[in-house]
């Protein structure tokens, strides 16, 4: 009886070892394939002007915000301004993420339309490794841009005597996570969409909706506080704000950018637990969109 049990456990043990070895082999194959896909996508993107144009525009926008900060300092006769690069870095992160998300969607849909995805899938690349490659390449691109933004902040800080704090790296790190989520959302839309135009329109609408819900209710709060719509309780602006509030609550759980915004609040008050919670939420959103995209790709075929 004991002998039989031992044999049974041995068989189960060998089965488990074989299964884990196969899984490890599959994982290493998948990682290798995804790196090759990422490498190709990265080279292709770095050789095209789009990323340079958007990086320049992003830095110009951020520089304008810094100039505003300087004007605010001189107008109010202040000597110190805490975190002058916080908002510009956030804006950089948002613009870059939105661009990279559209770029990832376009790359996926184009590969599908041109049939190059099919050729990859004939070989040692599957849907997951292909999407992983796209995610990697766009994360690396964001990482490069983030380094550039930090360098820009350091140089500008030296030139203007504005304080560059270490938590700027935290903002860009949070942005890197949020970028992963937004790119995964782009891949999700691209995997469902059949044509480049449809996918881009759908993604642009989704992102616009997220941005409206995120910033729209703040604007409406300001409007209400400034006296607009104070005349009566039936004012449509109040209803609009309530609706946007609800939408914002929903989008908070769906938009990595909304989570990033909350994460930055946590950074400002140095709340480590809240920051970790927001980072975890972004990773969860990324996983949700990524596997949704993989499922759509498998279901719809190349």
């Amino acid at each position: 009886m004991i002998g039989r049990n031992v044999i049974g456990w041995n068989v189960i043990g060998r089965g488990c070892r074989m299964a884990s070895a196969r899984f490890a082999l599959q994982l290493s194959d998948r990682l290798y394939a995804s790196w090759q896909v990422a490498r190709r996508a990265l080279i292709s993107t770095l050789y095209s002007p789009g990323i340079y144009v958007i990086s320049t525009l992003t830095l110009l926008a951020a520089s304008t915000l810094v100039l505003n900060n300087l004007a605010f300092l001189s107008e109010n006769g202040l000597l110190v301004l805490t975190r002058p690069f916080f908002l510009p870095a956030f804006v950089c992160g948002v613009i870059l993420s939105l661009y990279l998300s559209l770029h990832a969607t376009l790359q996926l849909v184009r590969e599908r339309e041109q049939g190059t995805l099919k050729v990859l899938l004939f070989g040692p690349v599957d849907g997951v490794s292909f999407l992983l490659g796209k995610l990697w390449s766009h994360s690396i691109l964001y990482g490069l841009a983030a380094v550039m933004v930090v360098l820009w902040a350091v140089v500008l800080g030296q030139m203007t005597n504005l304080l560059v704090q270490v938590d700027l790296i935290g903002v860009m790190g949070l942005g890197l996570l949020a970028n992963g989520g937004i790119v995964a959302l782009g891949l999700f839309v691209g995997a469902w969409g059949r044509t480049a135009r449809t996918s881009l329109i759908v993604l642009a609408l989704v992102l616009l909706l997220a941005l409206i819900a995120q910033f729209g209710d703040q604007a409406l709060v300001q409007m209400i506080n400034q006296g607009v719509g104070q005349a009566n309780r039936q004012d449509p602006v109040r209803f609009l704000r309530a609706a946007l509030d609800g939408l914002h609550g929903l989008i908070l759980w769906l938009s990595p950018l909304a989570q990033m915004s909350r994460g930055m609040d946590a950074l400002l008050v140095a709340d480590g637990a809240a920051l970790l919670w927001r980072a975890g939420a972004i990773i969860g959103q990324t996983a949700l969109y990524f596997f949704g995209a993989a499922w759509a790709l498998k279901r719809g075929g190349p």
Binding site: L25, Q26, D29, R30, A33, Q36, R40, S44, Y47, Q114, G115, T116, K118, V119, L120, L121, F122, G123, P124, V125, D126, G301, P302
Partner: protein
Amino acid sequence: MFDTPKPSGIMSVIAEVENEDRFYLDPFPSHPALLMQPGATPLIRTEQLCKRYGSFLAVDNLNLHVRPGEIYGFLGPNGAGKSTTLMMILGITRPTSGRVEVLGQPFDGTSFALRQRLGVVAEDAWQYDEMTAYEYLAFFARLYHVTKPGSVIQARLERLDLWERRHLLVGGYSRGMRQKLNLCRALLHDPELLILDEPVSGLDPNGIRQVRELLVDENRRGRTILISSHILSEIEQTAHRVGIIDRGRLLAEDSVAGLAARLGGGQRIELELSAPASDLSHLLVAQPFVQQVVEQTPTRWLIVCTEGDDVRPELARFLVGQGTLVIGMRQVESSLEDSFVTITNAAVRAWTERDWAERDWVERDWAGV
């Protein structure tokens, strides 16, 4: 209730295949790979493979066997289900039912190890236009873990006359050059099994010859090749066996010569006549030794005669007796194209008749009610 007549000729071939009572002829008994592996496990085996899109049955209980070391020609009219079958074999499309085995193992497209052993050329030349041919192949060489990629790429490009143009962007390549580049890509990693969908489409005659020679060479080295093509003359010259598919069903599977032999159809005689009489074809068909008359042009006719003795003297006598001036007469071999057309047309006829018979039966049944 109704006596079913015993099928003959092409109908027997179709019936035989439908009953899964296929027999195979070894077309090239001298082919070493075939001789070495009698009864070896097929490198591609599909069992009762079905694919349904809504109410449309694209592939219907397909049982395909590609043996090790052979070149298998997969033929069928447009929309016959060839590409769907290939996509299912490659694990890109999931079958509605049935089973696919590739290289002796069940395959659903998830095994990276199995994919490494396949080389695939798809019908459309899909490439990254912004890359040069060399970069394109280098990318795939890395993907397939090719050792010494530089020398392998050079050898492959030189074989198909693309080495000189290796630094040109693929976007500037002609369709034929793209197709050659696809072949180079499929052969980079020395795959055991090559699956080619229309490999010579878009190629000029020299290119077609080059590809044909390449495929024959690769096959001599033991590589198994499945070719799906519309260019029947190419299949005829390269394939050891062919499978003909229509409406998702495998209608026939044999060697080219085997198919012609099994189809029967007798001798084929091509006639060149000077101003034949309008009723001559009717008179010819009435002759006991004539089965069919095909007027290819007003003066060039193909006469399908009964099997057996040479009927040319008898035919000549008849024509002279009718006062027809015969300019030329020659016996022609039955080609793969003839077999293809005969088999697919007969199948369509059979299905149409069956459909009508079924409809007729249903109508009678309703009338009875």
